[in-house]
């Protein structure tokens, strides 16, 4: 079979809505999937808090938590119990209704947004084919985009209701940051729509089974999306809303006990959703690479399990990346953060949309069929674009306006002074006092 025909057969063979389970089966399956996904998310969140500490310890060459349970494995349980036993401090001057509503407003969007992400190939059961997604809605990733745009409320309101200057600053910063990067995130997904022609995540996974993973066909979009995902989840290098060294704990300074834990849970579950979304949009979702065995009917339990493992492995990789980057990169300054979002990510995403649209038009005009060749040509184009972006436009500074802008002469002066101080020819304190007197 020639390549285009194979691709076509693949597209036709997979239609998740061929068989409709009855209403009873649908209801039972929904409840089961919902409970399982909810439990797995919460379980994963608690493991992630441990993983964060273990990985940071590993990166910094220390042991990390190792007292509770074997190898510190029960640490999350201890943390959870401690949070439950903590006194619920209700500070004076807070606006109580919103102060207590805010954690819930952060918690709900973070935990419901995973619902539309397909995590495995459909599962055949005696009662019909069950799609392995909590809610198989046709608006797919628009749902995630809308729901994650609601995450701003919890943080902003927590900061405002706390009546604490640090909290308010944290809340304000985060809302401006999250809305800025939401634009970049939205625009970086448009090239995917150009390729897939549908907003449903199932369709996007199918498209990647045909043209190859979008991370190759749309590398620049992936880069923009990943940066935006870090900013949306308030993770380092974009953790300004809770920058410990500047704002105590940012928007959740005044929270204690379970209310504090809820912010924590929502941050980590937002991380899980963003990782899963990156996997789904750019890494083929549950697709197993180099084979179309998993994408074609007939489905079996084995296929569902194998694809679930594939999805899980990819998602865990991105969760690891989130932690890895947190313990590797320093925090951006606020002006750098804003100019990165508006002056780099937005123009890059916009230009990329036009470039990809033109490329698709050219490939269609040249009569290249959707398939590995199509993806390969796009990948080659992306390599060129990445070189232009990072080697030529950015000149090795990694995102130009985000880098510090000290003048060369200033740097030279500071270096010379530091050298003199080290040589003992100049007292650092006296120097500073003299400068202040000027």
């Amino acid at each position: 079979m020639t390549t285009p025909l194979a691709a076509l057969a693949l597209l036709q063979s997979y239609d998740p809505q061929v068989e409709h389970p009855g209403n009873g089966t649908f209801f039972v399956a929904t409840v089961v999937k919902m409970l399982v996904v909810f439990a797995v998310t919460l379980g994963l969140v608690s493991l992630l808090t441990l993983a964060e500490r273990k990985i940071s310890a590993w990166i910094q060459d220390r042991h990390g938590p190792n007292r509770v349970g074997p190898g510190g494995l029960l640490q999350p349980v201890a943390d959870g119990l401690k949070n439950f036993m903590k006194e619920r401090v209700s500070p004076g001057f807070v606006y109580a209704p919103i102060f207590w509503l805010a954690p819930a407003l952060a918690f709900v969007p973070a935990l419901v947004s995973f619902a539309v992400i397909p995590f495995a190939a459909p599962l055949p059961t005696p009662w019909g084919l069950i799609p392995m997604v909590v809610a198989d809605v046709p608006i797919g990733f628009l749902y995630i985009l809308s729901i994650s745009s609601l995450g701003v409320y919890g943080i902003t309101l927590a900061g405002w209701a706390s009546n604490n200057k640090y909290s308010l600053l944290g809340g304000l910063r985060s809302s401006a940051q999250m809305v800025s990067y939401e634009i970049a995130m939205g625009m970086s997904t448009i090239p995917i729509l150009l390729l897939a022609g549908n907003v449903s995540l199932g369709a996007i996974i199918r498209q990647q089974a045909v043209t190859g993973w979008n991370v190759f066909a749309l590398s620049v979009a992936f880069f923009v999306f990943m940066v935006a995902a870090f900013a949306e989840t308030n993770r380092l290098p974009f953790d300004l809303p809770e920058a410990e060294s500047e704002l105590i704990a940012g928007y959740h300074t005044e929270y204690s006990g379970m209310a504090f834990a809820m912010f924590f849970i929502s941050e980590y579950s937002a991380m899980i959703t963003q990782s899963a979304l990156m996997v789904t949009l750019f890494f083929g979702g549950w697709d197993i690479p180099f084979t179309s065995w998993d994408n074609e009917a007939p489905y079996s339990v084995l296929k569902s399990l194998a694809t679930l493992a594939s999805f899980g492995a990819k998602t865990l990789f991105f969760l690891f990346t989130f932690i890895w980057i947190r313990w590797t990169l320093p925090r951006f300054r606020y002006d750098q953060l804003m100019s990165l979002g508006w002056k780099v990510m937005l123009p890059v995403a916009l230009a990329y949309i036009v470039i990809v649209a033109t490329a698709i038009l050219a490939l269609d005009a040249a009569g290249v069929a959707r398939g590995p060749l199509y993806g390969g040509i796009l990948f080659a184009m992306n390599l060129v674009l990445l070189v232009i972006l990072f080697v030529w436009l950015d000149r090795g500074r990694l995102i130009s306006p985000a880098s510090g802008r000290a003048r060369a002469a200033e740097v030279a002066r500071l270096r010379a002074r530091a050298f003199e101080v080290r040589q003992g020819r100049r007292a650092p304190v006296a120097e500073l006092a003299g400068e202040a007197a000027d």
Binding site: P4, L8, L11, N23, F26, M34, F38, N83, F84, M85, E87, R88, V89, P91, G92, F93, W100, P103, A104, V108, L111, V112, A115, V134, A135, P138, Y143, S162, N163, N164, Y166, S167, L168, L172, A176, V179, S180, E182, I183, G186, I190, L193, L194, G197, I248, G257, A259, Y334, D335, M338, S339, W342, K343, I353, V354, A357, I360, L361, D364, A369
Partner: protein
């Protein structure tokens, strides 16, 4: 089909219920013992001075307003992205794609006009220094 959205409704209810439960358990299990010092806002040990809810830099409103505008632009791009292949094909798409020789610039050019007009606004904002955070 509306049935597909039923799980979302169920999930929203379930998660909201959980959020309420977690907050309630936290409130019910442990007695709160407030003291005057404990109920002060924590500002690094310095006695809080005045109300925190002050007016803020207009920059934040600026960003928020620009966000709405560009968000709406993105919202227009979503349907364009979805329909792009059909829009850039002079005849109806076949399952194999656009028939040879029928590819048109219609889809691309209409978005280029849209983006072009908005780029004027973006350039204006940039030039005026509204994106500069100092």
């Amino acid at each position: 089909m509306v049935r597909a959205y039923f799980p979302l409704l169920l999930l929203f209810g379930f998660v909201a219920l959980n959020a309420g439960l977690i907050l309630a358990i936290g409130a019910l299990t442990v007695r709160s013992r407030p003291t005057p010092v404990k109920s002060q806002p924590y500002e690094s040990g310095i006695a809080p001075l005045g109300d925190a809810r002050e007016r803020f830099s207009v920059k934040f409103y600026m960003v928020a307003m620009l966000f709405i505008i560009f968000d709406i632009e993105t919202v227009f791009m979503i349907p364009w992205g979805v329909a792009f292949r059909q829009l850039s094909c002079a005849v109806a798409l076949t399952p194999a794609g656009c028939p040879a020789g029928q590819v048109s610039f219609f889809g691309l050019s209409e978005m280029l006009v849209f983006i072009g007009i908005l780029l004027v606004g973006f350039a204006y904002v940039w030039k005026k220094g509204a994106l500069q955070w100092d």
